[in-house]
Symmetry: D2
């Protein structure tokens, strides 16, 4: 880390303060400024506070703020249920936004399995902007999901919104999803960090890649390294899609961490007509998988119908992705 100071400022006091905190401090004077070069682990240093020390012009991190996510994986193979993640890449997760009934999820499970999906998604505890919107079938929804996945040999995944539901999720799904709105729900992250279940961590729609990786860092620091990152679009001024898919961010994440990074083109698009193009783009760019919403009667869907593909269209998409898988 570098602290750039005005030559006339009281560097000595600051150096003493930092030395007492355990850092080795080198200094270099030049022109009208002095550089303090800190050697040591600065991940816990309150840079923003330090920057208010009189005479500080700028403070710059020269190292990544992580201790875990940017290190090579050391534990054994990444297992989901009894399957190795490596054998499934690119990982295809599909299903309805919400579990709406036993029949609905069973029917869609059959269709996405036929099309080649590895895992079945279906929300049971829905984080909805309005309290007047459908909130999910809760425990019953998770049980329908579990049955449908089992019936068709699919892994299952659903979003958790409250840590008190963790035992229920551990009992019913293979992957627990942390949604975009909870990416910085640190209580939830700490709880999931203690679980042995794989976690799919969505990027918040207004969070930087660095913040996203720091949320993964919470999970790893508390003991869980079975993390799948999922880019799902960020909020921008452009209205032609619901969010703006950030494939540059997906690539930047992959260059920083060993963790797998998949893409959810459905939430990024908000419109089924953009989903195929964005899916192809993601796989071609090197994403480790996709999470796609599939619904058989989109206009009657209790949530997010407009961004759902019908089963036939989904099957066709999966076939067309094969060409890109081989060359990404």
């Amino acid at each position: 880390m570098i602290i750039v100071m005005e030559k006339t400022s009281d560097c000595a006091t600051l150096e003493t303060y930092l030395t007492e905190k355990g850092y080795e401090v080198h200094s270099l004077e030049g022109g009208d400024e002095i550089l303090l070069h800190l050697i040591g682990d600065t991940t816990a240093l309150e840079i923003q506070s330090l920057s208010s020390y009189e005479g500080v012009r700028k403070i710059v991190r020269t190292k990544a703020p992580y201790r875990y996510v940017n290190k090579p994986r050391t534990s054994g193979p990444f297992l989901i249920g009894e399957r190795r993640l490596d054998d499934m890449l690119p990982l295809y997760i599909a299903g309805p936004c919400s579990v709406e009934s036993k029949e609905q999820i069973l029917h869609i499970a059959e269709k996405v399995k036929e099309a080649g999906a590895h895992a079945l998604r279906g929300g049971a505890f829905k984080p909805r902007s309005s309290p007047h919107s459908f909130q999910g079938l809760h425990k019953e929804g998770l049980q329908h999901l579990k049955s449908a996945a089992k019936a068709h040999g699919l892994l299952s995944i659903s979003e958790i919104v409250d840590k008190e539901d963790l035992p229920l999720f551990e009992d019913t799904v293979d992957i627990i999803q942390i949604g975009a709105r909870n990416m910085q729900n640190f209580s939830l992250l700490k709880a999931l960090g203690k679980s042995s279940k794989p976690v799919l961590l969505k990027r918040g729609f207004a969070n930087t890649v660095e913040e996203w990786l720091l949320s993964a860092e919470y999970l790893m620091m508390h003991g869980n390294d079975k993390i799948i990152l999922c880019e799902r679009g960020i909020r921008t001024f452009e209205p032609s899609s619901r969010h703006t898919l950030d494939l540059g961010g997906m690539l930047a994440a992959k260059q920083t961490t060993h963790l797998p990074v998949i893409v959810d083109p459905s939430h990024a698009a908000g419109d089924y007509r953009l989903v195929e193009g964005l899916s192809k783009a993601s796989i071609a760019a090197g994403a480790d998988g996709l999470m796609i919403e599939v619904h058989d009667k989109p206009f009657q869907a209790l949530s997010d119908g407009a961004q759902s593909l019908k089963p036939k269209r989904f099957a066709k998409l999966i076939r067309s992705l094969k060409a890109f898988e081989e060359h990404n």
Copy 2:
């Protein structure tokens, strides 16, 4: 609500579907399109799903999506502790980002009281982007805050991040804060909706005013109408401040709801040199109060030092605000 359809599409089926859902549907044909005008409460209708019905060009809400926040207040006076909010407007809340020790919070409490603040802030459960950053003193911090507030006749406020801590908060503070990162933590909103304590609801840094009011709607629907909204800056491309204070959003909120709306210029600015200007702007524009970070040794602060005013500067600011209070 209006559904704009292509003339050639199957309107009849959609009309039947909507009529069965209880809406009165009027239609108007003109040019190559047909308008379906829905009469009835559409706050629970899944517009996004409907928009995927074949032939739909556009769906437009003509009414606000709220049932509560846009209605006049009907319960009695808004009390915080035993004081009427109306008697304190504009409400000044001040204190350190984090409670760091018993002495620190007691000292700052004295200073902000002298300056004219009504309430003492101090975080005990800190939502930090990095797990390596200071996470707060937890229960002990809340007790220090309570003592310091009591010693100086101040109301107290602190941020909750986990609903399991609700009894502790109800016991120690006068106002419970929901932070920006938890504005759409709907489990927490539902839990706080059942509390009798006033809630300060910060706007998420990537949330629209409408989403912010819908989060207040969650609180009200579950029974709590003692809500103070707090604008604290949104995330944009501009790096000269940490966030961009959205006073237009504050004004838009005030034009929609009877709920009081205050401003946190400290988090918006991220730099103490911008805090005074933004504070004056907020009060002049008509904000119902301010929440300002105050610290006596900013560069050593365990969080957010750079945006904290020293006590003297805070006192001077409060004096200078008097001129604006009278004319806003």
Copy 3:
């Protein structure tokens, strides 16, 4: 277009006003509101002004605001120089950000030709944020570009920033580029609209897809329909790339217009390590081509070196794109 009005407002006066402007106005009353449905070409109507008429709740366009860009192409084949654009798709444009010397552009021309590019880019009039940055070789740069392109059988393209240079550009390049910062320089658009040269119209980094297409509309209305649209990233809060590539916007543009849409991954990324992934993504998603910066000594480049590929890496990328071209 629909005007939603409060039932109690003076609709009659507004209806008369609109009828006199030549619109057919139908009205429909329901609940506490009245809908006015305007039939006719509303592309020139000042909606924003109308919305301030007393009692107007909302005004909604139901038709696209275009007269030209959303219609099928009627003139003959799209020629660039003497070559048909259709025969070159996907179109690969490559070269340095700036023409720096005769030797530099000649050398890079040779390399990008070998790699399979169709056209050579090179800026001669550079729009730079700072007046202290390199501003380009101007006329001399264009002549070097022309010679280098001719020597290697490449088409040429360069950015114009001042309409007074139009004769010079018409004399030296095959495609005239309008850069992101000039996408809404309407004087320049009108001038280029009268040229017979193909125009590459970059999307402004803060412009919506609709505004981008309206800028193309300026060109077409003034007579030039040889337009290539180019998505190059939008400005967002994310710092890991210089801009955020908006492939959803690229797809939305292609669903609206017959005009070809290519992608510039270099300016979006700002970092050569992201360029390959974003290039593959773009072609897989269905982009009509790419514009990529190539430089043989990036760190000494007079502009934008960090986002430039070295010639070998570019050649490898073009080869790897073949697999995606066939399946997009």
Copy 4:
């Protein structure tokens, strides 16, 4: 400037390269990295290109990128027409978005003069997103503006969009405006830099404060230091106002430069109901003036009616601002 390099990289070659460019280079080794500290004027150095040198971890500017805008003013008093700017602060500019007719502008001029405005605005060359929108009365409009301003003892201001119109503007208006869309039209900036007329430079809606000041730097470098900066809102995800007024950016600009900074709340708001609050906020925060749209028949305005105040409401606003002027 600091270049942070990996210890194992070839620093010597880079040092030689930089020394030959005239910089004094000091180096400091520590941990696994080496800092190169450059002493000298780096405003013209291509940092982005340099960052691609192998082994560079980061490059950080430690000085502002300006040579002019951050220095104290040295030429004489800032005159507009024959009046000193200092005598008019805060400067109030008002009038319609567009000059629509001789009568219209004359009538509004009378009203804004009565209310206390110093200058009359009125667009004659309108930059409109759509070519189908009203484009302005051009030369005739400027002459109406000139007559109306003269008739009521007001200064006049209008927006230029093409440098070929500069003689016409110099002949008709007292202040020449560069609009948001042309903030980075560097040809126009260079031309205006050579004019002796004061320039009002609006911030682009997607430009940083630094880019805005660099555009002022273009004007100053070419000889014109009579610049009024104008903040008018930036583009964000929030739809409740047309743009988001960035008062933090206004304050940051004022802390960097001696140039006066005013605010245009009308374009920021896009809605007349937000204009008063944002005007008060701006003056209270310390803005040097306001530019406000005023129209007597907003709903019939040929542009931007919804954000225009009626004359009475404008007069009332100006009166209410007096209280804030004294205390900002």
